[in-house]
């Protein structure tokens, strides 16, 4: 397929075809017009590795895309309904520019230490081992198992309950609220009832975390939320709204991402010739395999910036206030950076992919994400003989959102047995 610049500019990035496989489009984009104005999305598209990397370090590529939205896109009624949500969103690390960003990130970092992350390993392994055993038994009995619902969706909430000290029932409520909030943030097509659900989710989350903050302020314990409440930098502490916003952002940033990264990785292993078996027999490959999965199908497909002032960027004149889409998924397959970019190379070395971004917004949870992925996948491949897809790969349901890449379902069955 070959398209004119005009066609590329009018491409809908959240059509079902693009959700299933955007890589043909990305390849053409990188080749024909590395920085392209998208008429369809009213935003600049940036996809080459070097350009995305430079944009992450560009001071005028602002992260604040919330306040402008509030100002420009919402009417009076919308502002009344979503005002509180925007107030909370405006305290999210990922939407802040320096110096506010630097101050907040420093404080959050005090609670989110490597030691705190390492302490979660036992819980991850235990949860993954239990779920993997259940899956093995069901596959042996001839069942079709959905690895999204029965594996990938289970591990991140279990870890959050440990980090924040909430019960499994709380976990279910938080999960629903986070999913509803995600509909707004991740650029899904608008559905009827969306606004009401988003509003209810924000209210629920705020109330829940306010109560948690008060509890840990009175009685500190050994978990990450309690550490956030205690975090102090030369007398500077997180305000209540910053604490609540940070809890919500950690859940939003760390739940669906890991879930999607995991199902994408499993999908890549199932599609590879012998990846599953090799990981079971050569555990030392796990680290490079996870990095390669993040490169090939990272869950964060695109992230957004907003020009602060007019920018002359790689030949494009980006006007003040314009939105810029940094397409990580395109950069991660840029042939200028990666040899054999479309091949899954399980032991790839020198893999400086951009799945976790770069620069000051580099993923705060990358160590936790890597730990969850390597530990969970190890339990899975060690306990479950490689299954096969229960439906043709072309029929797999990919999420139709602008920013994330992942599967709604990944049904598998015991290999070699037709039912």
């Amino acid at each position: 397929m070959t398209q004119s610049i005009d066609e590329l500019s009018r491409t809908n990035l959240i059509s079902p075809e693009m959700a299933a496989s955007p890589f043909g489009f990305y390849a053409e984009l990188l080749e024909k017009s590395p920085v392209l104005w998208s008429e369809r999305h009213r935003a600049w598209l940036v996809g080459r590795y070097d350009d995305v990397s430079a944009a992450f370090r560009h001071e005028q590529m602002g992260a604040d895309r919330i306040a402008p939205y509030l100002r420009e896109q919402l009417d009076e009624a919308g502002r009344a309904r979503f005002g509180r949500m925007f107030e909370i969103l405006s305290k999210w690390l990922v939407f802040l520019d320096p110096p506010d960003h630097s101050r907040l990130r420093k404080l959050v970092h005090k609670a989110f230490t490597p030691r705190a992350v390492k302490a979660l390993q036992g819980r991850i392994e235990e949860t993954a081992a239990r779920e993997a055993e259940a899956i093995r038994a069901r596959l042996e009995a001839g069942d079709v198992v959905d690895l999204v619902a029965d594996f990938c969706e289970i591990i991140p909430p279990a870890i959050f309950s440990e980090m924040f000290g909430f019960s499994p029932e709380d976990g279910d409520r938080l999960k629903t609220w986070t999913e509803d909030l995600g509909m707004f943030i991740n650029g899904a097509p608008a559905e009827p009832g969306r606004d009401e659900r988003v509003q209810a989710a924000v209210e629920g989350l705020e109330k829940y975390f306010r109560a948690s903050v008060e509890k840990y302020r009175a009685h500190p314990v050994d978990n990450i939320l309690s550490a956030l409440v205690q975090a102090n930098e030369d007398g500077d502490v997180l305000s209540d709204i910053e604490l609540i916003a940070t809890c919500i952002t950690l859940i939003d940033a760390g739940y669906k991402t890991v879930q999607n990264a995991m199902c994408n990785a499993i999908y890549l292993l199932l599609e590879s010739e012998d990846g599953w078996e090799r990981l079971a027999s050569e555990p030392q490959l796990m680290t490079s395999a996870v990095e390669e999965c993040l490169r090939m199908l990272g869950p964060a497909k695109t992230t957004v910036r907003r020009a602060k002032g007019d920018i002359e960027f790689r030949g494009a004149n980006i006007k003040d206030g314009s939105r810029v889409y940094l397409i990580l998924a395109a950069a991660n397959r840029d042939p200028r950076q990666f040899e054999r970019p479309n091949e899954f190379v399980i032991d790839r070395t020198d893999n400086q992919h951009l799945a976790f971004a770069q620069g000051i917004h580099f993923c705060l949870g990358s160590a936790l994400a890597r730990l969850e992925l390597t530990s969970s996948l190890a339990e899975l491949v060690n306990r479950v003989p490689r299954p096969e897809l229960a439906i043709p790969a072309e029929g797999l349901p990919w999420h139709r959102v602008l920013l994330l890449s992942g599967l709604q379902e990944l049904p598998v069955r015991r290999a070699g047995v037709r039912t």
Partner: protein, 70 residues
């Protein structure tokens, strides 16, 4: 770095400019404005504990002591 013979180094090919090291041990690291990557300050003002925290906290393990394996 105060009170130590060991020299700390940043592998600039690996650094992603997360600024974590500057946050935990600002006395001994800074961000190079030209490429957004970290640079070691010598002599640095951070304590040994802070530098060790930076080594541990770097999300891509780019900081190490010279002559030691990461």
């Amino acid at each position: 770095m105060s009170g130590s013979e060991r020299r700390v180094v940043v592998d600039r090919a690996v650094c992603v400019g997360s600024t974590t090291c500057v946050n935990v041990a600002g006395g001994s690291f800074e961000i190079d404005e030209t490429d957004g990557k970290a640079r070691v300050l010598t002599p640095g003002a951070a304590t040994m504990d802070e530098v060790l925290d930076a080594v541990d906290s770097c999300p891509v393990a780019a900081i190490s002591f010279e002559g030691e394996d990461k």
